[in-house]
Amino acid sequence: MAEQEKILEVKKLTTSFKTERGKMNAVQGVSFYVNKGEILGVVGESGCGKSVTAQSILRLYDEKYLVEYQGEILFDGVDLLEIPEKEMQNKRGKDISMVFQDALSALNPVFTVGEQIMEPLMNHQHMKKEEARKRAVEMLRLVGIPAPEKRVSQYPHELSGGMRQRVMIAIALSCNPRLLIADEPTTALDVTIQAQIIDLIVELNFKMHMGVILITHDLAVVAETCKRVIVMYLGQTVEEADVNDIFDHPMHPYTNGLIESIPLLEDKGVKRLHTISGMVPLLNQIPKGCRFAPRCPYATERCHREMPEFVNADGRHKVRCFYPIGLE
């Protein structure tokens, strides 16, 4: 089936930052793939490496001074980590684009919305100014901004938060990318606008048939939009499965903890909210064995000593745990 073709395959990606205290691996050995036209959810707490993974795919970090990549990022079969920066520039915004979390800080305050949408069009598709402007208006209409002819010459600070996020999506989609990375696109918005933005992404994913990586810490969003989901903890993938599987039978204790900490409407009476005990350790204090062991209610001595592999547990369900829940 053509739909099962992989548009992106990340193999054992490790992203390490050079800091004053030595090299820190923000992402370690992460592998996953995205099919054409599929929405893949990436979930995890703050600081688990979701954003770093996303920005590594686009190679946004300063490679001269700051960062070192290892592994493979195959986009359409080409390893993005191997191609020269110039070629990478050609892919950014054209084949792969990205929507950032905070639209206010990600839009350049001194350029109009139109100019910012036109820039990739003129760069990648060599459009003339007039043509690019027309297309910018079209894009604004596509993402549901009313009176796009007027908005196109406004500055970001003149728009509302939801509209700014729509503008970001318009910029990202302007060149019809084949992969969209949405890094917490709704975190900075209020709930009703959140739903609109997510609906918009789903709708455009369907219309334009592009792969989407939806990074979020909101499990509800994942449940509604994604088919497949990976869970990250401390720079590693700990679980990967179809959405239904994850919610019905989470195998990793961390995923289980995440799902249990969602308050349910049918919960009667006063009940303490479930939390995962402990805190995410700092990158320089990563435990030797399983990274989740110090916070895991089921951890054994082996967990503290050895790192479990990320293995197929049950069909398409992969997990990084010696004692997956429900499989003993």
Binding site: Q55, R92, G93, K94, S105, P109, P120
Partner: protein
């Protein structure tokens, strides 16, 4: 925009009133009798007293102030005790060299500072950054008169390629001669500002380069050079414009010392000589003009803000 400019110009009035009061008091509180200085040590007490009377120096200080300000409104900035020329002509004659020098010095500091600041920001923590940091530290620390004298020793005495002192007006000697005579003074005046602007540019560009919209521009596939010039610099420019405005004012007043070192007949030298001669009316007029220049530069800076950043509305 028009409304804003009018408002700003109107708000100059109280500023100028305060400045004029301060200048006036300052000068009349300084010891030294202009009449005695004019007539010399040989003059008798009666002659001095007569001159004081005729100059109005015996009137109450408030009356003297009202006289002075009233005169300004009639276009009369007072009369010099020593120079037999109308005040506006004295100031006009002397302000040319100072403005030339100031603009030249500012250009030199910008030409040095902007690229250095940008390079330092891009190569943060690398050797280029450290070298630039050291030089800007030195630049800030060395006073302009010392630098001026060192430059004279090197370029005029040893290498004999630039004149050590003096001034040639554009009208009489042409642009090249003009520039030749102003180069050493402009360097010694501009280097300290160059150091300041370098540091400001570095931190401003650094801050902008770390912002999300730069990452976004990169994610759109924009080339590094374009990111730096188009996306980063325009945003970094705001704090830099402020510093440039301040530098201009600092250069204008800093010119006093350099003009003395290089014997340039500018406003600075006029002030120094007038102070030595107790020619208080000249001092008053010149300081008022400099204050006015200060305020005008600030107004221009504010207007530039509005052009550089659409978030700042000048309505």
């Amino acid at each position: 925009m028009k409304k804003y400019v009018v408002k700003r110009v109107l708000s100059l009035i109280p500023v100028l009133i305060i400045v004029s009061v301060v200048i006036f008091c300052l000068i009349h509180l300084t010891p030294g009798d202009p009449a005695r200085t004019m007539l010399g040590d040989q003059a008798s007490e009666i002659e001095v007293e007569n001159l004081r009377e005729s100059m109005g120096l015996n009137d109450p200080i408030v009356v003297q102030y009202v006289h002075w300000v009233g005169g300004i409104f009639h276009g009369d900035f007072g009369t010099s005790i020593f120079m037999d020329e109308p005040m506006y002509k004295i100031i006009l004659d002397h302000i040319g060299p100072t403005i030339s020098l100031t603009i030249y010095a500012l250009l030199i500091s910008l030409i040095i500072a902007m690229p250095c600041g940008i390079i330092a920001a891009r190569k943060r923590g690398k050797s280029q950054d450290q070298v630039i940091s050291v030089f800007s530290m030195v630049g800030i620390s060395v006073p302009s008169f010392l630098l001026g004298m060192l430059l004279i020793i090197l370029f005029s005495v040893r290498m004999k390629i630039l004149p050590s002192a003096g001034y040639k007006a554009i009208v009489d000697n042409g642009f090249l001669k003009h520039i030749e005579y102003l180069t050493l003074p402009a360097i010694s005046l501009g280097l300290m500002q160059a150091a300041l602007i370098t540091r400001m540019t570095r931190s401003s560009v650094l801050e902008v380069l770390g912002s999300d919209y730069i990452k976004m521009a990169k994610a759109k596939g924009v080339k590094d050079k374009v990111i730096l010039i188009k996306h980063a610099l325009r945003n970094a420019l705001l704090p830099i414009i402020t510093v440039i405005g301040q530098s201009f004012i600092a250069l204008l007043s800093g010119a006093t010392v350099v003009e003395t070192v290089f014997n340039i007949p500018g406003i600075g030298q006029l002030v120094v000589n007038s102070v030595l001669r107790r020619d208080y009316e000249v001092i008053q007029a010149v300081v008022l003009v400099i204050a006015l220049g200060n305020v005008v530069v600030n107004l221009i800076v504010d207007l530039l803000y509005g052009l550089a950043d659409p978030r700042i509305s000048l309505e």
